[in-house]
C-alpha cells in the first residue's frame, strides 16, 4: 500500500513570504493530521481533519496558518506570512480512526525561514 505522500521535501523562504505544503494520505484514511516538529522536539499537533471537516485546530496559529482538505482526500497547509520561528519539519499523518493502528506519517517537509 502506498504511504502518506508529502511535497515538497524541502523549502527555504525568506521571512514574510508565503509557503504551502501538500499531503496525500493513505487511501481510505478518513482522519488527517498536520504536525509541526521543531528540531529536538516531538511533533506538535496543528490541525486534525475528519473527512473534509476540521475536528481540532486549537493549536493552529490562525493569524498566519491555514489548512484545508477539500473533497476529504488530500490537504494543503499554508503559512502566510512566515516567521523565523516557523522553521521546522511539517509532518502529515493519516489514520483509519481506530487508535490501535496508530498514525501513518509522511516523510515531512523541512521548512527553513531565513
Amino acid at each position: 500500500e502506498a504511504g502518506v505522500a508529502q511535497s515538497p521535501r524541502y523549502k527555504i523562504i525568506e521571512k514574510r513570504q508565503s509557503v504551502a505544503f501538500w499531503c496525500n494520505p493513505i487511501s481510505g484514511h478518513a482522519t488527517l493530521y498536520w504536525y509541526q516538529q521543531i528540531l529536538g522536539q516531538g511533533p506538535k499537533l496543528l490541525i486534525q481533519f475528519q473527512n473534509n471537516g476540521v475536528v481540532d485546530d486549537s493549536q493552529l496559529p490562525k493569524d498566519r496558518f491555514s489548512a484545508e482538505r477539500l473533497k476529504g482526500v488530500d490537504s494543503t497547509l499554508k503559512i502566510q506570512p512566515a516567521k523565523l520561528e516557523d522553521s521546522a519539519v511539517y509532518l502529515c499523518a493519516s489514520s483509519l480512526g481506530d487508535v490501535i493502528y496508530g498514525y501513518t506519517f509522511g516523510s515531512g517537509t523541512r521548512l527553513t525561514v531565513v
Binding site: V4, G42, A93, V99, I100, G102, Y103, S107
Partner: protein
C-alpha cells in the same frame, strides 16, 4: 499543564544488550499510550499501542509496560541490533488526540 518527559540524553548500548527507555507524564490520564520510531529525515513509524488496563505488551523484540500509578511507561528493545538505532517517541492519548514526547535517541554499537 500536561507534560510528557523522555530522557533527552542519548542511550548508547552495545549490540545484544537490552535498551530500556522511559516515558513519564504528568496531568494526564491517558486511555492509550503509543510508541513510535523515527529515523533522521523521516516521519515517525508506529510500533506499539498499550491500553491503560494492560500492564505489558510485546511485539517481537519489543516490550512495553504501562504503570498508571507511577504515570510511566517503559520501552524495552531486547537483543538490540545496530539497525535499532533511531529516536523513539512516546505518545499519550489526550481527549482522543495523541500528544508526543520529545523522544530518546538510541545508538546501538556493534
Amino acid at each position: 499543564s500536561q507534560k510528557i518527559e523522555q530522557n533527552s540524553e542519548a542511550l548508547n548500548i552495545q549490540e545484544g544488550k537490552t535498551a530500556t527507555l522511559t516515558c513519564n507524564y504528568t496531568n494526564y490520564s491517558p486511555a492509550y499510550l503509543q510508541w513510535y520510531r523515527q529515523d533522521p529525515g523521516r516521519g515517525p513509524v508506529f510500533l506499539l499501542l498499550i491500553r491503560e488496563n494492560e500492564k505489558e505488551k510485546r511485539k517481537e523484540r519489543l516490550k512495553v509496560t504501562f504503570d498508571t500509578t507511577l504515570k510511566q511507561s517503559l520501552f524495552h528493545i531486547t537483543a538490540s541490533q545496530p539497525a535499532d538505532s533511531a529516536t523513539y517517541l512516546c505518545a499519550l492519548d489526550s481527549w482522543g488526540k495523541f500528544q508526543f514526547g520529545a523522544g530518546t535517541q538510541v545508538v546501538v554499537t556493534p
